[in-house]
C-alpha cells in the first residue's frame, strides 16, 4: 500500500504542486513562529524551584513627609523597626496565613528588582543573582524552598542567626563554583571582598518568570530604621514587602479578592499596605510587561492562522480531485477495497506529502538555525543553566521539529478526512456510470 501511495503522489505531482509549495512555506513559517512559542511556554511553566501557588505579597508603603497622615513621632529609627515587626505580626494573625517573612523592597521572587553580584573561588568567578533575606524569619520555609545538599536543613536555615559572612546558595551555583553540589562549609569570596562560608545549598530557584532557573545566592540582611544601606542592613523607612504563605487549601487569588479590605486596614506608624497580590498574579504581570504574554498570543494566533490555512488548502486541493478520485475509488471498491481503506490511503498520501515537505522545511530552516541559533530562553543575567533541552541544539531542534510535524499532520489529516470520506463513500455504480 505504501508503494502505491508513493506512486500516486509522484504521478500527481503537478496537481499537488501548489500544496507542496505551500506545505514547505508553512513548515518554514512554523519554525519561525512555533520555536519561540514553545520555548516561552516551557520556560514559563517550568517549575520555579519553590512553591509559588500559595504565596501572596503585601507591598508596604510609608506615608511621606508633608502629607497630613504623616506621623513625625513614628519616624525615628527605633519606632520604624518596631512598626515594621508589628506589621509583620498583624499580617501573620490572618487565620488563613500559615507564615510570613519580610522581603527587602522590590526584591521578592517575581518582583521588579534584580541584582547580580560576583562570587569567587580561587579558580572561578560567577555572577549569580543576589537576594536578601532577614534571618530568623522563616524565609526559606515560607517560600517552600527545598534543600539540595544533604547537610542542609531548611528548619535550621530558617532559625539560625546568620553572621554577616554566611550565605546560602543554589545547587547550580555550587556546581559552578566548586564542581560539587555538596558544598556546605566551603568558602567563597563575594564582591565585598570578605571570605564567606556557605551554610546551605538549596535546590535551584527561578527568580522571575520570563527567565529560566538560574544561579542565585541569599545574603542575610537586617532591617534598619536608619536610612543607610551597608550591605548588612536594609533601610525600611520608605517601605518593604511581606510574603505570606497561605495554609493548605487556600487559593491565593481568592485570598487576594477576599482580603483587600483586610490588607487596607493593616497600618503601623507611617506604614500602610498599598497593594496585595498573589505571586501568580505578579508572575503574569511581569510576563505581560516583558511582552512575553503578547509574544505567546501572537505566536499562537499566527500558528493557528497558518494551520487553518493549511487545512483549507488541503481540503480545497483534495476536493478538486473528487471527480477523478471518485471514479478511482469506484474501481478500487469494485475490486474489493473497503471505504475505510480508500479513505486511509488518501490520508496516508497527505501525510507522506506532509512528511516530505516538513523534512524539506526543516533542512532549509536548519541552515539558518546553525548560523543564528534556535530560540533561546529569556535571560537577563549572565548564566543560563544548560540542563534544559532548550540549550542543547539537536535535542531542541528535534523536539520542535516533532511538534511541527504533529501539528501539520493533524491539519492535513483533518483536511483530507472530509473529502476522503465523501470520495470513499461514493456509490460505486454512480461513480462508474457511463454517460
Amino acid at each position: 500500500m505504501i508503494r502505491f501511495v508513493f506512486k500516486n503522489l509522484w504521478n500527481r505531482r503537478a496537481v499537488n504542486g501548489w500544496l507542496t509549495v505551500e506545505l514547505i512555506i508553512i513548515a518554514i513559517l512554523a519554525w519561525i513562529i512555533i520555536d519561540p512559542l514553545v520555548v516561552s511556554v516551557y520556560d514559563r511553566n517550568s517549575s520555579p524551584g519553590y512553591d509559588i501557588d500559595r504565596l501572596v505579597l503585601l507591598s508596604v508603603s510609608a506615608t511621606s513627609e508633608g502629607t497630613y497622615r504623616y506621623n513625625p513621632a513614628a519616624s525615628d529609627s527605633v519606632t520604624v523597626i518596631d512598626d515594621y515587626f508589628r506589621l509583620l505580626s498583624m499580617a501573620a494573625e490572618n487565620p488563613q496565613v500559615q507564615s510570613v517573612t519580610p522581603i527587602a523592597d522590590g526584591q521578592s521572587l517575581e518582583g521588579e528588582g534584580m541584582m547580580t553580584q560576583s562570587l569567587s573561588t580561587e579558580t572561578d568567578t560567577v555572577f549569580p543573582i543576589k537576594m536578601f533575606f532577614v534571618p530568623g524569619t522563616g524565609f526559606f520555609s515560607t517560600h517552600g524552598i527545598t534543600a539540595s545538599d544533604p547537610k542542609t536543613d531548611i528548619a535550621d536555615l530558617d532559625s539560625r542567626p546568620f553572621s554577616d559572612n554566611e550565605i546560602v546558595i543554589t545547587r547550580e551555583l555550587a556546581r559552578r563554583l566548586f564542581h560539587d553540589e555538596n558544598a556546605v562549609g566551603r568558602v567563597t569570596v563575594p564582591h565585598w571582598g570578605v571570605e564567606t562560608v556557605l551554610v546551605g545549598v538549596i535546590d535551584d530557584v527561578r527568580p522571575k518568570s520570563p527567565m529560566n532557573v538560574t544561579t542565585m545566592y541569599f545574603r542575610p540582611c537586617r532591617p534598619t530604621g536608619d536610612r543607610e544601606f551597608d550591605g548588612t542592613k536594609m533601610p525600611v523607612n520608605d517601605g518593604f514587602s511581606i510574603m505570606l504563605r497561605l495554609k493548605q487549601g487556600v487559593d491565593s487569588e481568592k485570598f487576594v479578592t477576599d482580603n483587600t479590605e483586610w490588607a487596607n486596614s493593616l497600618k503601623a506608624g507611617n506604614f500602610y499596605v498599598s497593594k496585595i497580590s498573589s505571586l501568580l498574579q505578579n508572575k503574569r504581570d511581569i510576563e505581560e510587561a516583558w511582552g512575553i504574554s503578547n509574544s505567546e498570543r501572537i505566536g499562537s494566533a499566527l500558528a493557528t492562522f497558518f494551520l487553518i490555512n493549511l487545512f483549507l488548502g488541503v481540503v480545497g486541493t483534495f476536493y478538486l480531485q473528487t471527480r477523478r478520485r471518485s471514479t478511482e475509488a469506484g474501481i478500487m471498491k469494485a475490486f474489493g477495497a473497503s471505504p475505510s481503506r480508500i479513505a486511509v490511503t488518501m490520508i496516508l498520501e497527505g501525510l507522506i506529502l506532509t512528511f516530505v515537505t516538513w523534512a524539506a522545511g526543516c533542512v532549509i530552516f536548519m541552515q539558518y538555525a546553525l548560523k543564528e541559533g534556535l530560540a533561546a530562553s529569556h535571560a537577563n543575567v549572565s548564566y543560563l543553566l544548560n540542563e534544559s533541552w532548550v540549550s542543547h541544539f539537536w535535542v531542541h531542534f528535534s523536539i520542535i521539529a516533532a511538534i511541527i510535524l504533529i501539528l501539520m499532520s493533524i491539519a492535513v489529516a483533518v483536511g483530507i478526512y472530509l473529502p476522503a470520506r465523501k470520495i470513499a463513500n461514493t456509490d460505486i455504480a454512480y461513480s462508474l456510470k457511463e454517460e
Binding site: 508503494r3 474489493g336 456509490d427 457511463e434
Partner: protein, 224 residues
C-alpha cells in the same frame, strides 16, 4: 450443474427529488457455473443495472441476490468488499484503468486488497499479463496503450485474483471490430479453458450469438 448466480424478485427503483425510475422490475434469473451469458436490450433497458446488482456494486430495492450460494443482502459493506475481491472480476466499457499507475500496478490492484506480499503480487500479475499478451508493456501507462491493449489490461486485472465470475459491461463497446474480436477471443478462452462464469452486457448480436445463452431485457423486464 451448480447455480452460481441467482436473482429472485429483483426490483431496482431510482428516486430523485422529482422523478422515480423503475430500472428493473421483478427480475428472476439463474446462471450456472461455467456459463457464458450475454445480456442484451436497447439503451436504458436496465442491463447495466442488472450487471451492477449481480456484481454487488449496487443493492436492489427489493429481492434477493445469491452468489455462489451466499446471500448478498445480509452482508455488511466490508464483507461485500471482501466477497467482490475473492469471487468477482469486472471489465468495463471505458476500461477504467487508473491513469497514474502503469500496467502492472493496475493489474495488481485486486491483490493489494488481499494483502498479498509484493513478490507474489508481481508473479501473479506477470502471469496474467503473459496470458493476455502484454508482458512486454508492464511499465507503460494507459495513455501509451491502444484501446484494445487497455481492455486487455483490464481483463488481466479482472482475472489476477482468480475469481469464479467475470462481469463484462460492453467490453468491446469502445473498440473497433478487430480489437473487439481479440477481446472476445480472450473472454471465450477464460470461459472454456478456466471454466469461469461470464456475464456480458453487449449490443453486438454477432458476439452474443457465440455465447451459451442470451438474456433479453426491455424496459427493466426480462423478455427472453
Amino acid at each position: 450443474m451448480n447455480t452460481i448466480i441467482s436473482l429472485t424478485g429483483i426490483n431496482k427503483l431510482y428516486r430523485t427529488k422529482e422523478i422515480e425510475t423503475l430500472a428493473l422490475e421483478n427480475v428472476n434469473l439463474s446462471i450456472n457455473e461455467g456459463e457464458f451469458v450475454s445480456v442484451m436490450g436497447p439503451s436504458g433497458c436496465g442491463k447495466s443495472t442488472l450487471l451492477n446488482i449481480i456484481g454487488l456494486l449496487d443493492r436492489p430495492t427489493s429481492g434477493t441476490v445469491k452468489i455462489d450460494g451466499v446471500e448478498a443482502s445480509a452482508m455488511s459493506d466490508r464483507s461485500l468488499a471482501r466477497f467482490r475481491n475473492n469471487e468477482l472480476g469486472f471489465v468495463f466499457q471505458n476500461f477504467h484503468l487508473i491513469n497514474s499507475l502503469n500496467v502492472i500496478d493496475n493489474v495488481e490492484i485486486p491483490l493489494l486488497y488481499r494483502n498479498t506480499p509484493a513478490k507474489r503480487r508481481r508473479e501473479l500479475a506477470m502471469k496474467v499479463l503473459e496470458r493476455v499478451g502484454l508482458a512486454h508493456r508492464i511499465n507503460h501507462y494507459p495513455s501509451q496503450l491502444s484501446g484494445g491493449q487497455c481492455q486487455r489490461v483490464a481483463i488481466a486485472r479482472a482475472i489476477v485474483g482468480n475469481p469464479k465470475i467475470i462481469l463484462a459491461d460492453e467490453p468491446t463497446g469502445n473498440l473497433d471490430s478487430k480489437m473487439g474480436a481479440e477481446i472476445m477471443e480472450i473472454l471465450h478462452s477464460l470461459n472454456t479453458d478456466d471454466h469461469r462464469t461470464i456475464v456480458m452486457v453487449t449490443h453486438n448480436e454477432n458476439q452474443a450469438k457465440l455465447t451459451n445463452r442470451i438474456i433479453r431485457f426491455f424496459d427493466g423486464r426480462q423478455v427472453q
